[in-house]
Symmetry: D2
Subunit: 402 residues, 4 copies
């Protein structure tokens, strides 16, 4: 058993960390303030493009992509995981390194299942960071925790595919550079449960596609990416827009889940580390009743519990990443669900503790804590609510007995 | 021991409940949507004034005020408490019945400590619902959990009082009808610890008073009331603006704490009840994996825990209100701190459970749950953070031994 | 709403409290040590009979019994509740005042449903404290959380009833003065679900009744009462032994549940108060790192949380007792289940905190805390596990919606 | 990063697992019953010696000992850790493999610090499994969480050392084969804080040593090992009995802490796994309300949470073991305290859940769960209470900032 990073991972980790500290952290507060105070926050501020260019020049680009043929760094999940953690400390970093969701997942889908045409037209600019994308799966009218509830349709009509339905929580769809979405819909209700659905690549400007509104998460809209409600009304595309052909939606969805959840969870661990750092700084610097907050009541115990919880959560994700690398998704299914439950809840506890130590300031935009909280909170629901994952973990646990 | 409401309380409770159901709940969703979509949400929509007029006509007005001479309803704390709970179910109700904080606390201060002039000029329009007010105590630069940290000054200069300093989380200061604030500052650093501070009635248009910005709570600004950061720069007022005279700030602050916390807590219980109702509705109506959510996993247990927690919290507040009525603040000091810890945390658990049952919709503005969460979260800090109250409760507990 | 005790309850509370402090607490440690060190702890030590005589002389006897005709004190549930709390502080007190379970429940059954013969032969000596009794319901082979699982039989055979089956967790059956048990068994599998079972009064020396063994709870046997496993093999009794006649078992069982759970819960609250007192004493007296434990880390916060939790739990039970008095079991069914979940869990948290503050000593017999913990722990299962009660609470909650 | 076991560790793990399944588990229930029912449980039952002989023959012996010169297996901490987990599943296994505390820690002390005479006379029979030993550190009269409170003395008097004081929670001192204890006492109160104490090897039959009584943990005495209170009255030994010479007590104590805590924690993880297995078996086999318990309420979620918690705890310990192996105690100090907090609490939650699923049977001796609970509970206090470790973790966390 060896808990040390590979030489490659260690080198990237040092470089990514240096970049974040030197280039991103000094401009972050300004970036958020500018955006908050601008009349239209659905824009890409110039600083973002400058940082992206610099990151790309330094080879800190598309690190999430295991594939090297299309410009990925060839890292395994367990190698990329600590980089995702480092990026999670900053709301800006993932996009600067071209590693932000859902573009990462969409890119992987196109690498694995895309046609040559889809790759040259959509994947390449995506990997160059020139366009953004979204993923349209969840629907407002049904409990999306049960994927078989999906009501939107993707019906084959001759050499076309026709999309109808309403999706929401389509993250990134508000971005001014968002050029396409991947849409999932029901194609053949009579096929086997896992062969009924298709994934379709839909240019955002296709007639019949309409972003109805942007949703708030605890009052935050996460500009300029956002989470949109999108209607699809008789959207017609050539059959070549169907990724890997009709009926393969579930198969494709499966493949993106493992790495995607590793990324989400590691970023949350970075966020929790950031919150704990802020909490320690506040606990040391702020004085009440003649003592630094650290020396009052249960504050030290809370800090210690946070440290323990983060360490446990990180190890669980790293182990899951290693399982994914060595045994594939089939050998890591329970673990992928375990991290999806454990990590957001851990992050929430740590961030909430940090908020409390900051007093009312912690609730405001003066610190990144309230925004961190809403991000972590949404991950108890996005990609499957806790309850669905717990049920899966229990199923594996009980099955091992028989 | 008798847990039934007095006839007076029961009658008001019925009437307030009827009013909320018949007049407020049907228009609430519209109200919030209109405000959200308006270019300037810092306004009083016409419906609010219509509802206020109707409530006042029906005698459902200033029910919080025990004093009958100035138009209060003469209710004890334990009688008003269930009315506060009923109003807490709706973000609109408190202002409709002219029972919203901090106007309630400010009114009580002026009833007890105000001069005739202050009463006729400020209290009367406040009780008629024509103006709003704010309370300026917490400061950005110091840990306000320790009130002796207060750095703002209220210095006597001849027959004037001069205010300097910066306050924040001044709730209500963004309201277009906000006409005055009550400011607390240090007058005599050499006096006894509890005789150093003064409370000053400051018309909002006094030169030197500036609302610097409105603060967000988890991204919510609570328009049109809001929480402001306010600077006071050489603000000069006649000595008659000092409430009850210089040096009596702490004494006055004490008096408003007991009832104020009862009101906050009971409103939170109403909010938690509302969240539990929404959770039960969702659990019954929404179907996943072929069953209503109520029949999946631990959902029923969570609903039961919520019911138990709310009932316990309500009884703790009612008992505290009764102690306040029968033994005064001196006989209820530990209990007032107990409810201040127990109730917001209980409300948060219940609301968070309701959010989870609603899926991602629960995070959005489509339901009042995310806003409810941020309101409850802020009450773990406002009026003293949990930790300060726990320390007080422990002090009483340990003292009883000696 | 009035939280003060009735004059009668207040008077009894003072007298019971004085008795416990003056007569019981000074001898308790000795009592337990003597029992622990005796070769045979299944005995009644002389001090117990002396204390019982004294309590009876002072009229502090059978206070649990609302019925005055048979020597009860005529107290309502809400009046008796604080007395049960006072008695719960001491493992000895309930038996000293002839108020210990399951004799209390058995006495109530015989008062309400017993024949004249049953009353004169069994109830009267029970109420005089001359004999003890047990209740045989739970069975080892089936999940007793579901009462319809019950497998033991009580079959009518001419003018006799024949009992067969195996019961366990029959509390009190190890007591040297235990003279009878009430046995519940299946009489008519074809009758309506709630009319299938009978309760039978079985003298312990009836042929075919055998106490197979005494069970441990976390290593404690609770001598001299104990919890027994009892087999019934072709036990034959005249039909007159059937309480209220065949098929009425569930009806009778229902009636004893409400008050019984109030008693259990209030005793647990007394136990939790005792634990909190011990914790505060230890926190004040014991020094580590140069400070009393109270001033280290989160100890004060834990003490405060314990105070809040106990107060909430007590109020929930008192309110439930009041509902039972004013609306009957039908009006308090959810609440009776609510306290059955809330109180044991609260008591466990408080006692565990007290153990931790005592260090390893808290785990030993040098303090009553470990025994208190096991008692409270068993009440998360006895009289229905948490999960069954939570389900009932949720059922009421969800039903209110329709 | 590589989470797979080394070939050596994997081989031992297979063999230890096979031995436990084939040889120990089939006789365990019998072993405990025999002991429980025997008049004198402070004995070594013949089966234990048979199993020890067999384990030794197979080379599954002293695996804990990294040193190979004295017969250890040469395993690193991270290699031994999974073996400790496997042994932790059974209360019998550690002694069968000669790997039980505190003999393991005492052996390590003698290997590192013992004189040749101490090694040949005490260490060799200990490693052959012929004698047992105890460790006398904790004292009844002072808060032992603060080691500087230690009041027992070890005073140099010419060429003798004289011991006085009272120790308790000396685990293993009740064993019939216990031949010596290691005693820690104050030698020079004027020396540097960490050079005041000495460790002395004391044959149990030395005049002046008296085992005063055996202590209970929640009613369990853990026969035949037990936890004793031991008095030392003018116990005189030659100076050669002082391990490594006077004043080196703290230095020696430090060295045993790291591995000892790894062992304790991994055994607890084995115990938690065992409890989870029992819970899953019960949840599958037992039926209530027409369904297996697994399908009722929140049971599946609880099982999933247990799986997640165990996995996190195991990884935290393994990582700490790896740190200890690669960076020494100095590089793992915070982590050693982290596991000491996290693991016992995790084990308690899992075991408590398993108890609840077993109903009242879970509280009794019919299942190993109640005993498991008391063992895990005592480890929230033994080797330093949670609070002391949390404080250390916080100190490291806050220090990293400066």
């Amino acid at each position: 058993m060896d808990f040390s990073h590979s030489a490659t991972a260690a080198d990237y980790l040092r470089r990514v960390g240096d970049f974040i500290r030197a280039e991103i952290e000094p401009v972050e507060a300004d970036y958020h303030r500018t955006l908050r105070e601008s009349r239209d926050p659905w824009v890409v501020l110039p600083i973002v493009n400058q940082l992206k260019a610099r990151a790309r020049d330094q080879g800190l680009w598309n690190l999430f992509l295991p594939d090297t043929e299309h410009g990925g760094a060839g890292l395994s999940n367990v190698e990329y995981a600590p980089l995702a953690e480092a990026m999670g400390r900053s709301a800006l970093a993932p996009v600067v390194f071209n590693c932000n969701a859902p573009d990462t997942g969409n890119a992987e889908v196109l690498v694995k299942y895309g046609s040559d045409e889809q790759r040259s037209r959509w994947l390449e600019p995506l990997l160059r960071g020139e366009i953004r994308s979204a993923f349209c799966m969840t629907e407002p009218e049904v409990a999306s925790s049960d994927a078989t509830n999906m009501a939107a349709t993707a019906v084959v009509d001759g050499d076309e595919i026709v999309l109808n339905g309403r999706k929401w929580w389509s993250t990134g769809v508000g971005h001014p550079e968002c050029a396409f979405v991947i849409f999932m819909g029901l194609t053949d209700p009579d096929a086997h449960k896992y062969q009924r659905h298709s994934m379709v690549l839909v240019p955002l400007d296709t007639p019949g596609v309409k972003v109805e509104r942007m949703l708030s998460v605890f009052g935050h809209q996460d500009e300029p990416f956002g989470h949109g409600e999108v209607s699809f009304t008789d959207v017609r595309l050539p059959l070549s827009a169907v990724i890997a052909g009709p009926g393969r939606g579930f198969e494709i969805a499966q493949g993106r889940l493992g790495p995607g959840r590793i990324h989400h969870c590691m970023r949350l661990i970075g966020l929790a580390e950031k919150a704990l750092e802020l909490a320690c700084a506040r606990a040391t610097d702020r004085v009440a009743f003649g003592k630094p907050l650290a020396n009052l009541g249960g504050n030290r115990e809370r800090i210690a519990h946070a440290r323990i919880a983060i360490n446990q959560a990180r190890l669980l994700v790293l182990h899951t990443a290693w399982l994914l690398d060595t045994k594939g998704l089939a050998g890591a299914r329970s673990e992928v669900s375990q991290i999806k439950v454990a990590v957001p809840n851990t992050a929430l506890e740590v961030i909430d503790m940090a908020i409390q130590l900051h007093g009312a300031a912690g609730l405001s935009d003066d610190f990144p804590l309230a925004a961190a909280y809403t991000g972590a909170r949404s991950l108890r629901l996005a990609d499957g609510p806790d309850e669905v994952h717990l049920n899966l973990v229990a199923r594996y646990e009980l099955a091992e007995r028989s």
